[in-house]
């Protein structure tokens, strides 16, 4: 395991970043999340997979309160998510999110997309915000597109800008909600490369994805969800070679068949 040492160097610790305790959520009568508990430590990389409709997107959207949970507790950096708007905003500042459909702001340039939140939310001076933005745009390898509008970029480029935009807020945790599902096959790799790099730098990440190659190479733990429950959670080596539950086996045989 070559990156076991890399992990240690990347500043992993026992400090708990995200803690979900018996979280329940319903959409009307439909029970989306059933007693979900999950603990994520600083520097840990979690990949969440499962069939569609299993509640994995809902799960990570609860962590920054894009969805409201109805029972149980969610703590981010020991701050509990309550209905207090100030609390929610505080947590959202520390939690970055990358969406399946990018959601870049079409009326702003790439650079403005990246500086808007640091300027207004972090109250950073323009010059500093621009410097930070350029640093992260270089990290995702598109500094030359800074003055363009999102509509002028390819899907892969847009998703990399979206990652840079989140990073500009210096988040403690990054959530990825199927970041490559809306991309053409040849663009998936450029986004995954950026995510792998981010993982190696020690970012705490929770990724909902079907990219099993990504899970194998960077995840510390793979979580398998089905029908609103966490069915199984194991390190990738164990998860892929020796799944315990039948549901996991069935899912893996389908997804790894091709």
């Amino acid at each position: 395991m070559a990156h076991a040492t890399a992990n240690a160097e990347a500043g992993r610790s026992d400090e708990i970043m995200v803690d979900l305790q018996r979280v329940n959520k319903w959409y009307g009568d439909f029970h989306v999340l059933k007693d979900v508990s999950l603990t994520v430590r600083r520097g840990e990389r979690i990949v969440v997979c499962g069939p569609s409709g299993s509640g994995k997107s809902t799960l990570i959207r609860c962590i920054n309160r894009l969805e409201e949970h109805q029972q149980g507790r969610i703590l981010v950096e020991n701050i509990e998510l309550t209905n207090d708007v100030k609390n929610i905003e505080m947590i959202r500042r520390e939690v970055g999110m990358v969406f399946q459909s990018f959601n870049l702001f079409p009326h702003l340039t790439v650079l403005e997309n990246c500086t808007l939140a640091p300027l207004w939310v972090r109250k950073m001076p323009q010059r500093e915000a621009a410097a930070v933005a350029m640093k992260f745009l270089e990290r995702v390898r598109i500094p030359e597109q800074a003055e363009k509008y999102p509509g002028q970029l390819s899907g892969g480029q847009q998703q990399r800008v979206a990652i840079a935009r989140s990073l500009c807020m210096m988040p403690q945790v990054m959530l990825f909600d199927e970041p490559t599902s809306a991309l053409d096959p040849e663009m998936i790799k450029e986004v995954l490369d950026v995510m792998v790099e981010l993982a190696h730098e020690g970012m705490t990440m929770i990724c909902v994805t079907h990219e099993m190659g990504f899970a194998k190479s960077v995840a510390d733990n793979v979580v398998f969800m089905d029908q609103g429950e966490i069915v199984e959670m194991a390190p990738p080596a164990e998860f892929f070679t020796n799944p315990r539950s039948d549901r996991t086996k069935a899912f893996l045989s389908q997804i790894l068949a091709h």
Binding site: N103, H107, R127, A129, Y149, P150, R165, M169
Partner: protein
């Protein structure tokens, strides 16, 4: 032979094809025919008109504008007497049209934005009431609505003697709306001057606040500081000059209320009708504009930690306004043009005065063309202004 001919016609269009099958020549012929027909029709109409006018010995020309009008106008923004000229009568009509249109545009916008947002409300009752408003106002002809409001104002409101007084000094009755006005005082001039300067100062402050944000990151606080900058100096000057505030309040004399300012029932009905009708359309435009911004934009802004107000101001509204402004422009134009229905309830707008002038002078062509030219000018001016505004907020995307 045939195959050769086909190949040739594709390569060189002009050679080897009979001329009436050549698209270029056909095109030229078609255009010549259209121009000849157009000239013929125009010539016929003009000739016919001139002949008819000559037969009835009607003088053409605009000299009638300098003649005495000889009719009275119910309400005028500038002094008008029957001894004034037709030209001045038309000017009075134009000013009346502008007055009802401008106030109507402001009211329709305010009401429309409120109703449009209300229709998106998560409060079931508020949303349903707004839907009912929109469906009712948009689906009943404006002319009927004008009659409706005119009836309400002139029939259902109490007589002057039992006038409604919702707020002390504001009197509503069959003969219209009367309300108090401030009596002018020489010291009001410096107050207004200071107010004008303060407004400029407030915008200078706004620029400064944005620059300070770029330099230090401090979030610009705009609403309260700007309000204070605008109001406080003027208030101070007003108090220093001894606060001379005398209100001219309408008071009941023997037969009716005197004093204050008043608007006629006709104006009131027309203003209500136009604003309420147009607000229905504007509400739908506002609603669709806000809905047209994908929900993902709001989610992305929320995920970055923007508070609700900033999400709307920085992300949603800039994208929604771009969709809202162009159709709103055309509704402003509609409202202005629809104000010509004033003639039906007897409000002396441009068309009403123009009609009277036409009937008295018989100068139909001149009167109609004056009115058309004026409406065209007003519409083009509104268009030009709104296009300028649209360019300012239009956002490049690619």
């Amino acid at each position: 032979m045939a195959r050769e001919g086909l190949g040739q016609s594709a390569a060189t269009a002009s050679s080897g094809v009979v001329w009436w099958r050549n698209p270029t020549i056909r095109g030229v012929i078609a255009q010549v025919v259209v121009v000849v027909l157009l000239v013929a029709v125009v010539w016929y109409l003009v000739h016919n008109t001139i002949t008819n006018l000559n037969e009835r010995s009607i003088r053409t020309g605009f000299s009638f504008l300098d003649q005495e009008a000889g009719f009275a106008i119910g309400e005028a923004l500038i002094a008008f007497a029957p001894t004034d000229t037709y030209g001045r009568a038309l000017l009075v009509g134009l000013l009346n049209t502008l007055r009802v249109s401008l106030i109507g545009i402001v009211l329709a916008t305010l009401l429309g934005v409120v109703i449009g947002i209300a229709r998106l409300s998560s409060n079931w009752l508020v949303a349903k009431l707004a839907s009912v408003y929109v469906e009712v106002t948009r689906n009943i002809p404006l002319l009927l609505q004008l009659f409706f409001w005119y009836t309400i104002v002139t029939q259902l409101l109490p007589a002057v003697r039992e006038a409604l007084e919702p707020v002390p000094g504001v009197v509503l009755s069959k003969s219209g709306l009367q309300f108090p006005i401030v009596v002018g005082d020489p010291t009001h001039l410096p107050v207004l001057g200071v107010l004008a300067l303060s407004i400029v100062a407030a915008f200078v402050y706004r620029r400064h606040a944005y620059r300070r944000q770029r330099e230090t990151g401090q979030e610009p606080r705009l609403l309260w500081p700007m309000l204070a900058i605008i109001c406080l100096p003027a208030l101070a000057v007003f108090l220093v000059t001894g606060a001379p505030l005398e209100l001219d309040v309408p008071e009941f004399t023997r037969f009716n209320y005197r004093g204050g300012a008043s608007v006629t029932p006709e104006f009131l009905a027309l203003l209500l009708g136009l604003s309420i009708y147009t607000a229905g359309f504007i509400a739908e435009i506002v609603r669709s504009g806000i809905l047209a911004v994908p929900w993902g934009q709001t989610e992305a802004a929320a995920a970055l930690g923007f508070r609700r107000g900033l999400q709307l101001r920085l992300i949603v509204l800039p994208q929604a306004l771009r969709i809202i402004v162009p159709p709103t422009t055309s509704n402003y134009l509609n409202l202005t043009k629809n104000s010509s229905l004033a003639v039906a309830i007897g409000y002396p707008d441009l068309v009403s005065v123009g009609n009277t002038t036409l009937n008295q002078t018989g100068q139909a062509i001149e009167c109609i063309s004056i009115m058309m030219a004026i409406y065209l000018t007003i519409s083009l001016l509104i268009s030009a202004f709104m296009n300028w505004y649209n360019r300012r907020i239009a956002l490049v995307e690619r």
